[in-house]
Every structure is written in structure tokens, then in C-alpha cells.
Subunit: 328 residues, 3 copies
């Protein structure tokens, strides 16, 4: 299924991304810095590409979904440049009726392509949806086998990427790939309080039209639910403070929107180093990170209760591969 409304992105989306998220990663801020890293220019922020690709799938996949359950096998496959036009197509890869017979889980693999037909990213997500005809027989159950994480050797690096001459001072952080240890946890310190106008402008920018984000008369409690991707971008931008050289997201291994987020929330973030890997690109290492967004009230690095459920202060639990400079 090819989703509707291709989208040309450019310098306007780039500036708005900076206005909406406190983003300071140098590769996405400066053409000069990006060129010194072997790229022709500064690409569109990787999560902006994700949001555009995701937004196109909403009308067909999740407009009336009951819940967005998870992500897997997300890979960024090519940089998105100003002037590129993105379109998204999706394939249903799994289906499972719930025991209540009224709803079920659908697994979908979505792929964003640019105007040259080249894939720029691909990911699987699964959502809970209502069954169209509750009395119809249950469809055959197909639960896809999904990788727990993208294998390091399957990461696709932007062509030409070279961190051997990396300018740590310009990037704003002295820490290289070697400085992070598996198991290490990093408090990103800063917090951002979210306003209605901000999350709605962001979500519209990605042409994500789900009613629940925009219409204060839609939910019984009169609140607008913040698009989960807005929290992802906030957490990623906040992670600059501690992970300022984790320049590029190469993969989204897994992800859960642990609790809903509403305007007025002050979002904070912390990360945990889950794994490390070398890459074939000169000077480039990969760090697998758990990126957690919480409400400001959250204590320490608390994530789950004793029963394994996410604590109510946790908003997001994301598992990504990021590309960093090695000291060489």
C-alpha cells in the first residue's frame, strides 16, 4: 500500500525542527561541520525524516488505532537532503486477534523513499486496532519474527561519512566512542515544558492528522494527546547534554510509548549504554543506547515497578543505534 501525499522537505522544515526541539547536534546544525565529516551538506535531522515517513502512514495504519504498541527493525538507509521528496509505502506483515474478539494487533513494515526511488528509512510498528466486523471469524494469526535489535553489521552509514578529522570543540562535547562503557547511564539534566501550540505545530509539520492530537473535543477529558514522535524528538534533543557527539541515529531497534504525554508536562531524559560496535566507516563507532523520556518528577533512572510495568513517570523507552566519532 502506497500512502498518500508525497512531501518535499527543505530549509523551512530544518529551521522549524530547531525551533520545536532544543537540538544542537552539529552535523544537523552546520553545513560546514557536515562537510568536514565527508557529507555534501547538512542533511535533514534523521528524526524529521522519520516523522515525515511515519506521518504518511497514519491515515492508513493508525488513524483510529487504540494504541501504538511498539517499534522494531528501524533503519535509516540514506540521508534526506533539502529539496528531496519523500513518500511512504507499507506492508502488513502480521495479524493477531485479541482474545476479546473485538480488537487485534496489526504489524506493519513502512518504508520511506525519495524522489529517486531510493529507500531512506524502514521500520516495523505494531498497533492495536478495533476489528471492523466483530462477528467475522478470526483471521489466521501471523506473528512476525522481529529482531530484538538491528545487528551492528546491518547499520547503513551515510556514504562518505568520515569522523577521522572530527572537531570535538565545534561539536561541543569532548567525549568519544571509547569514553562510553556498556551499562553506563547518563542523566541529560535539562527539561522542557511542552505547550499545546508546539506539539500541534510539530505534528502538523509532519502531516500527521490523527484527531486525538488536535481536537480538544475528541477525548472525554478534553485533553489533546501529544504525538509520541514529539516526545522522541524532545528526548533525542535533550540527550545532546551528555551525548553531544552521538551525531546520527542509524537505527531504531525497539520503542514503547510507556505513558501518554499532555501539554504542561516537563519532559526530561536519560540514556543507558546497551552495546558498542565498530563500523566500516573511518573514525566512526556505533553506540546502542536506551533513551528514556520521563516527566520532570521522575527519580533517578527508575524505569519499571517490581511487576515489570513502566512507572507512571516514564513516557518513552527507546532503543537506538547512534554513530559517534572514535578517537582513532
Amino acid at each position: 500500500m502506497v500512502h498518500a501525499v508525497p512531501r518535499t522537505v527543505g530549509p523551512g522544515e530544518r529551521a522549524l525542527y530547531t525551533a520545536l526541539y532544543p537540538s544542537r547536534f552539529a552535523l544537523y546544525s552546520s553545513d560546514v561541520f557536515a562537510r568536514a565529516c565527508g557529507l555534501p551538506a547538512s542533511p535533514l535531522e534523521d528524526l524529521a525524516a522519520f516523522h515525515v515517513v511515519f506521518g504518511k502512514s497514519v491515515p492508513d495504519v493508525s488513524l483510529n488505532a487504540v494504541a501504538n504498541l511498539g517499534y522494531a527493525e528501524g533503519r535509516f538507509l540514506a540521508p534526506v537532503w533539502p529539496g528531496d521528496t519523500l513518500a511512504t509505502s507499507s506492508e502488513v506483515i502480521g495479524l493477531k486477534q485479541n482474545s476479546n474478539g473485538k480488537s487485534g494487533v496489526v504489524w506493519v513494515r513502512s518504508t520511506g523513499v525519495n524522489q529517486h526511488g531510493a529507500a531512506v528509512m524502514s521500520y516495523v510498528r505494531w498497533v492495536m486496532v478495533r476489528k471492523r466486523a466483530p462477528d467475522a471469524p478470526a483471521p489466521e494469526t501471523v506473528v512476525p519474527e522481529l529482531a530484538g535489535a538491528v545487528a551492528a553489521e546491518d547499520l547503513v552509514l551515510p556514504p562518505g561519512l568520515d569522523f577521522t578529522g572530527y572537531d570535538f570543540a565545534a561539536a561541543g562535547s569532548p567525549h568519544a566512542w571509547e569514553d562510553y562503557a556498556i551499562g553506563e547511564r547518563i542523566d541529560h539534566v535539562d527539561g522542557v515544558t511542552v505547550e499545546e501550540a508546539e506539539h500541534m505545530m510539530a505534528t502538523r509539520l509532519w502531516q500527521n492528522t490523527a484527531k486525538v492530537h488536535f481536537n480538544a473535543t475528541f477525548r472525554e477529558d478534553g485533553r489533546r494527546l501529544i504525538y509520541g514522535g514529539h516526545v522522541i524528538s524532545l528526548a533525542r534533543a535533550l540527550s545532546y547534554n551528555g551525548l553531544g557527539n552521538a551525531q546520527i541515529i542509524a537505527a531504531i531497534n525497539a520503542g514503547s510509548h510507556a505513558n501518554p504525554c499532555f501539554a504542561g508536562t516537563t519532559v526530561r531524559a536519560w540514556s543507558e549504554v546497551l552495546d558498542k560496535a565498530e563500523t566500516a566507516a573511518p573514525g566512526v563507532g556505533a553506540l546502542r543506547l536506551r533513551l528514556v523520556a520521563t516527566r520532570a518528577q521522575s527519580a533517578g533512572f527508575a524505569l519499571r515497578d517490581t511487576d515489570g510495568r513502566y512507572l507512571p513517570e516514564v513516557l518513552l523507552d527507546l532503543d537506538i543505534w547512534a554513530l559517534m566519532p572514535r578517537r582513532g
Copy 2:
């Protein structure tokens, strides 16, 4: 009278339009789609051009107007491309003192031109203004003869426009010009709750400086009135759901801001097909549409009370010609 402050528009205005309005019309979203329709690139959204042209006239025409009474004979005459510089000039074409002797109605025809001196749009609007010297004799009454609607044969189509190879899947709607019947009414379903920051950013973007939109100390009730054009763009964007192939607005036949709109309002929209016409461009038909914006509380397609007055839930009653693909 040539209005002040020419304005160069570009990819920034384009991205902001998408962030401010839930716009998904493919021709304004994608260069690739626009090229497949015979245009050199995706032009600036037609209503963005209208807002820029309108905004320039505000300081001279309506800064202190008591009320914005109506529009007529609005035609889009040439696409606006990124990098174009727009300026506006206006001509007073009518004048009528009210019976109270203290105010009157002024009719103005405004024309927006680009840097090549070519007109990009033209429209008439009339406003109620206070009389400068209440004791001065009444000026001679001149009430201009205005067309009830732009004649279909007077619509100006973008040069090169060709919908014969139209991609309905990419546009996101299967409905062609043939599928709409005169008298048909369409509920656009979605609703958007408006925030102060959004309408003020939009109105500033169009360099519309009327105090009443920005200054909470200006009105006695402490509320900021939302620029009527903001409601027009919201209704137009919402109309995608049901009129997703009504790609281009070619004319504004008439329009009334039926009731004022304030932040916190959830805006919804519905349309009625008023007329249909063929055009000279290949594969292109024209649909005359009544586009109505209402508060969320509005019931069905209610518009006026038994005395012919707009219901209090109605915000906008606009009459436009839109260009759509024909099935051929």
C-alpha cells in the same frame, strides 16, 4: 495606492504554512506531484499568497475598521513561486455613508503583483469604517456592481496545468470532478482547536499588523480576535478530508466572517457543491464550493436561523472555485 513593504516568500513560508494548517493537498506538498501536473515545481499555497497580499493592505484599508463585511471577485491570476517578491496595490471603488452619519462602507479592489509586475491575484473587499470628520457632508454614494460569482470562463488556470495523468493514490482521494453533484454537502469530519500562539504566528507571518489580533489589552474583554484569514486557511485545510483532489483555489466568489473566532475554539468545516464547470486545461474541471467553518458544537449543516442570520456557531461562509481532476 501602493501598499508598503514588499515581501519575498520561499521555503520557510511553505514549511510554516504546513505547521500552522493541517494542509495535505498534494500539489502544494510535493514538487514531484506538481511536476506530474505540468507545473515547474510546487507553488506557494494559494491562500498563503492571498494572506500576504491581504496583509499588505491592512495598514491602509482595515487597521481601524469596525468590521470586515465581505469579499467578491477574487481571482488567482498566476502561481507564486519560492523566491517571488509580492507587493499589493489597492483602489477605492465604492463608498456609502451609513444612516447614522458616523460610519460608512468602503469598497476596495486590491491586486497583488510579483517582481515581474505580473498580477498574482485580485479581489474586492468591503469594510465598515468610522468617518474621519463626522460633521463633514456625506460623500457621494458609489456602490460598485459586483459579480455574484466569478464566471467559470474567467477563471485563470496556472500555465501548463494538466490533470490527464493525475495520480489519485498519491493525492490521497479517489474522487474526481464527475463524482460531485450540485447540491451535495460534505462533512469534513476533523476539528482543530486553535491556540493564541498559532494564530498570532500565522498573522505575523502575513505581516498583518491589526492590533486586535495581538494585543490582549486592546479589547475590553481581554481577548485577541483571530484574523479571519486564519479561519479560512483552517477550513480549507480541513476540507482535504472529502475534497482531497480540490487541489487549487482559482477564485473567491464571495465570503463573510459570520462570527468572530477566539483561541480555544475547535474549528470544523463542511462544504456544499454550488456549481460545476469544465475548463480549457486538459483533465481539469472546476467545482464551485461553499466552504463553511463552524465551532465544533455546530449541528449538521446548519447555517442560518429562520430570520436569515448566521447561526452563532458559524464562523465563515466562503464561496470559491476549486480546480479538480476529471476522469477523462
Copy 3:
């Protein structure tokens, strides 16, 4: 010290500046107007350049400052063009421990450079900061000698600037340099009420990361302090009404953020002509202006109480040189 994260600016930042501030100065609105004034295109608004340069210095200079005390010797040295990449470096030029031994004043000169290594602006600011080790001996006091104002002959004008063919109608104001008298005061009439989403988007756009602007849980009173530069840009934009031909800010002679500003405030502005000077550029005069931002409740041109302290309604007291057309 070279500050982190260089930044490429372009048409997105330009459009957002217009959406965030009610700016109507023709030179920054129109490429056509700018070319008629001898420039190759419309540059980035001068204060946008200032904010980007300033924002980079925040993490190293003022992230945890107790107060931002003043500005001096600010000069704009070259226009910033779309596509330029800016970086900032700073030098500590003065130091003075307070008598309490716990804090002190630091003077810093910051310089913004573009991708060619050319300086685009330079200014001094001083901030009050806590002493890292309260028990350490007081450092040697160095109080820099700062000019009370940039001398008119030291103003740097954009290369090619020529106001001899200046189009007063397009600019929207009939007043030339000759029309302003030293000592004259101008009420800029308009007011703008500020929302949280607006000042946060602006401050993020400049990549200014000071917590106090974004995090509602940071201050005890739960309020977010508005970045002082946001008030500067609001006042400058409001000054169009009365100073519509004061196209270019050439220098920031001095400045104080007299009182903090919070969302909900309606900002107004007035100016006083402090000095006048000729320049070497054809048709270009310079006006030294005191630009004052106040809360809407402020009366007349009131600035200080009888003890010389700023009145609580005063937000900003800025001293600038602006470039204007002469009548010839």
C-alpha cells in the same frame, strides 16, 4: 574560547523571524527592495544574527549566570546571507569579585564569524556569576574600559549600501533622517502579548539552551523567564511604527534588561533620538536611538524613579545606532 555548534542559517530562519516578531522593515522583507538599496539580496535580520551569535555563547558564559548586567561596544560587521554558517568565539576581558566574596562580574567580548572567517558582529556583555570556590582568594580586579557608545565613524556599513534611490512608499514611512531631532521621543503605539510557545520557539531557534527559559519546574514560582533577546526583537519590530525607515541596526551601544519578562505580558515600546551622524555611504544617515520596551501598563515615556532605578514596568533600555535614508 571557541563556542560549540556552528549554525547554517537560511530561508527557514528568515520566515520564522517574521512569524515570531511583527517585523516589517522592508530591507529584510524583500529581495527587490534590498537590491534597490545596493545589496545583492535581503540579508538575515540583524538581530537574528545577534541571537545566533549570542546563543552559542550561553553554555560557556551565562548558562548559570545570576544576572545579565549589560551590553557595550556591539557592532554589526558584515551582513549574514542565507546559507551562511555562523560560529562564535569569546574572550574574557574583565573580572571583579563582589564584596560578598561569593559572586562576581565577568566581562566577555564575543565575536561571530561566518564560514569565510569574516567577523559578522562583535559585542561585550557582562554577567554576574557565582564564584566556583567561595574560599579561594579574590582574583585580580580588571575592569575593562568600555566606550559609552560606538563612535559614528566606527560604524561598519554593508558594502554597496546606497539609499539615494530609496523608495519611501515601498518602505511604508515618509520620514527621512532629517526629520528626526535629537531629544525627540516616539511612542510606537502597538503592543504584543507574548505566549510561552512563542518565546520558547524563538529561543530554541537561536539554540540558546538556558534552562530558565524552558523548564517550568526550574524556578520556584513555576514561571519561565523570557530570553532578554526576545524582548529586544519585539521592541525593535514594534519600532517600525514611527521608525519604519530605520532599516539597519549598525551598533548596540549599551543595553540593560531592566526587569524580567514572563508570558502573558503585553510588550510595548518607545524610542528617543539620542544623536545623529552622517555616514560615508550615499544617502545614508545614522540615528542613535534609545529603544525602550515596557509592559502595556506603562505611562508615557517614564523610565526611572526618583532614585534613578528603572520603573517596574520597564523591561529593556537599549541604545543602538540605526541606518536611515537621507533626503539628499
